[in-house]
Symmetry: C2
Subunit: 447 residues, 2 copies
């Protein structure tokens, strides 16, 4: 029977913007690796598929009132790999601001040291301030970022394939350490990148890391259809999630790929209580910890307009918002506009609505209700699983692991034990063969 895939999306003190102020949070441990190790171990005990770290190579704005710094994913996940043995480790890394050779090495090493648990969340980096940290005057525009990303994925795939599986010989008797006929320069010279190769690391346990993608723009969906094996996405309603799911699966099929081998994983940020009233009260407690100065600046980034002069308890001035065309790309913009049109919130209500998980699905209820809603999305053609985004950590994840996971297991919707030890095995994905495997001879030996 088809089962859910569940990732834990790790965010320092939790996904709610005021999480770090909550009585149950541990904000003084946000730079303490043992805090994250405890979390990864808990997720592994709950037989989650993976832990996931977002990332970007710049300091976001608006740092005064919330935890906005970044943990570098490769180092952090390498450390978490040592505290766990089965759970997948998904690192976000940018095709715009990393060189493919460096990125390929970092993932190869993470996969080796974790025994085949690496996943790559492929991003093109949307934050314009990143460009200024890399000597660029202007942030590269969306279409060219995706064109480079497409070539980048082909380059690093070739690098990960450049040592065939049996290139490493290690025969002390004959004196042959590696079969240089099975190590291949990739000789890539394309529009955006030139990389000779081969990689300087033997082939990795998974062949290649699992390819994950999260863009929901047109370019993003086209890219996902070609490359992604798992897709992170944000939806507020079953209807929207279902439409996205059908669209993406159709695009995957149109690319000649098997839609079952591309997992669609919306975010869910659950407030859990022993009664629904308790869960809603918990959510309300978080909302009251938000700080309007912070929230309004976040909203300005999403919408492109500053609402800070308006009455917080008055309606959102719909006429001031840009159109989708004016706003350009950025599917999260549409999520927010949909909320405004559907729910007609006051500004304060909208701020609270978005404080939970930056546009992801926030839902409050009993463990049974949360499980029901996840099941509805899963069986209703809206999700293959979820990116679980606890409003606060580690307690918010404990509530999910201790109370929601057992219900999902009883219903046969989620594994009770790992069957394999690689991220590919958790997702039911095949191990890719090296594209050089069918060549006879050649490689470095021929030169």
């Amino acid at each position: 029977m088809r089962q859910l895939n569940l990732n834990l999306f790790v965010y320092p003190a939790g996904h709610h913007e005021a999480a770090w102020r909550f009585r149950g949070a541990e904000p003084h441990r946000v730079l303490d690796i043992t805090y994250y190790q405890e979390l990864a171990r808990r997720a592994e005990e709950a037989t989650f598929d993976a832990v996931f770290f977002a990332d970007g190579p710049s300091l976001p704005d608006n740092v005064r009132y919330a935890s906005r710094f970044r943990l570098e994913p490769f180092t952090w996940l390498s450390a978490l790999a040592m505290a766990t043995s089965r759970i997948g480790l998904i690192a976000t890394a940018s095709t715009t601001y990393l060189e493919p050779y460096n990125l390929a090495r970092l993932f190869a090493s993470l996969d080796h040291l974790s025994g085949g648990r690496a996943g790559w969340n492929i991003v093109t980096t949307g934050a314009p301030q990143a460009a200024q940290n890399f000597g660029l005057d202007e942030h590269p525009e969306h279409a060219s970022r995706y064109a480079r990303a497409d070539e980048f994925v082909r380059v690093v795939s070739a690098l990960w394939d450049s040592w065939e599986d049996d290139a490493l010989v290690i025969d002390p008797e004959s004196g042959v350490f590696a079969d240089d006929a099975k190590i291949h320069p990739i000789e890539h010279a394309g529009e955006w990148l030139r990389v000779r190769g081969p990689l300087n690391t033997p082939r990795i346990p998974q062949g290649r890391p699992v390819y994950v993608q999260a863009g929901s723009s047109e370019d993003g969906k086209a890219f996902a259809a070609r490359h992604a094996e798992a897709i992170f996405t944000a939806h507020q309603t079953l209807g929207n999630a279902r439409a996205f799911y059908a669209d993406v699966k159709a695009r995957v099929k149109a690319e000649g790929r098997d839609p079952d081998l591309v997992k669609v994983l919306p975010g869910i940020s659950p407030f859990i209580g022993s009664t629904e009233a308790e869960a809603l009260a918990l959510q309300k407690e978080f909302d009251e910890l938000t700080q309007p100065e912070y929230s309004l600046r976040q909203l300005r980034q999403l919408l492109g307009v500053d609402l800070s002069g308006h009455d917080l308890d008055g309606p959102v001035p719909r006429e001031k918002l840009p159109t989708h065309e004016q706003r350009g790309y950025g599917s999260r913009f549409q999520v927010v506009v949909d909320i405004i049109d559907r729910e007609r919130p006051t500004i304060r209500q909208l701020l609270h609505r978005l404080a939970g998980a930056r546009g992801h699905w926030v839902t409050a209820g009993t463990p049974e209700q949360i499980a029901d809603r996840m099941q509805e999305w899963f069986l209703g053609g809206a999700a293959d699983g979820f990116n679980v985004m606890p409003p606060y950590l580690n307690g918010g994840f404990d509530a999910f692991a201790d109370e929601v996971v057992p219900i999902l297991r009883r219903r046969g919707l989620f594994r009770t034990a790992y069957e394999g030890s690689t991220l590919r095995s958790h997702y039911g994905l095949p191990r890719p063969a090296s594209q050089y495997g069918s060549l006879s001879g050649g490689g470095l030996r021929a030169r």
Copy 2:
């Protein structure tokens, strides 16, 4: 009393080129992180200052007969950090092939997760094949690599300073997470690099990682005098080591820096036996495992001439070698020429001479003799400590840790316990203050 600083230089199966063929080596574990964790734990039990990983972003030539692949240092050392609690972790990273923002983040994270144990071996990357992995037609020339490196160090130093020590507030009551007046854009626009900053990570335990450098060219020594806090170097004789030591310390002084705060650490690769004859027999066993086809290709890279047509048991044809001027930079070339002129070896003898540690000091003897020789260099103005390069691992390091270290301790030459828990404390180096600390106000808050 002044004491030795000792690092363990980790190289997959050991530093001798035939190490992986030796009966006591574990070549099948060269990609197994637990093998390196055992090694790091052993080095920590021996109260070593640090473990050190060399690196380069390309696959070296000559891969058939020896272990030539690379372990990516940031991921690997992050994993080793989790198996240890005191020992320093020195990663090699290139100023030519990494972006300063990315490098600054990787070290910041390594220092955070290890509790202040990161060291940066600053290299400009000499391997010409690296350029072709990064879209360049030609390897950047030596002088321009060093000019960029100089600016690069200033940029990343500013990034590491960009959060003042007390910028992180985390006061749930007031709602202030970070004091944005104490987070500073660096606004760097120089000849080689433009980086706005600030870094997206709070200030690290050590302020900055320890700066290590290993180039012995003129440019390299000038660079070290300005920036290095530890210098790795290769010398075959006490005389040469002493001359280098005096030269470097004088250059440091001329830069207005304290020579005692720059540790000079030559490499030593010791064959250890219970008698001198046993140690020499062990070394001979290694020599007999070398493969001339491999060794001759290595020699060709060092000297720039191919001696493979010559009688291995005849003399090195001195007249065929290029001059130092023809050979250009590369201090290792001079080390080899000195051996030829001093010892008049046959080609085979020269191959064996270099098989041990690629030009570093190889010495065979009893534990007492090894300790005597180290003491002679240490007290004789040639070294502040050593980069220990065991000919094979892990056994070759066990012999050093179990038999040489106790002698050095009895003589008062080496610590018996760690006094601190950061690499800076092991080396006796101060923690740098942030260059932005004296500014009043400003930072992101001002904008």
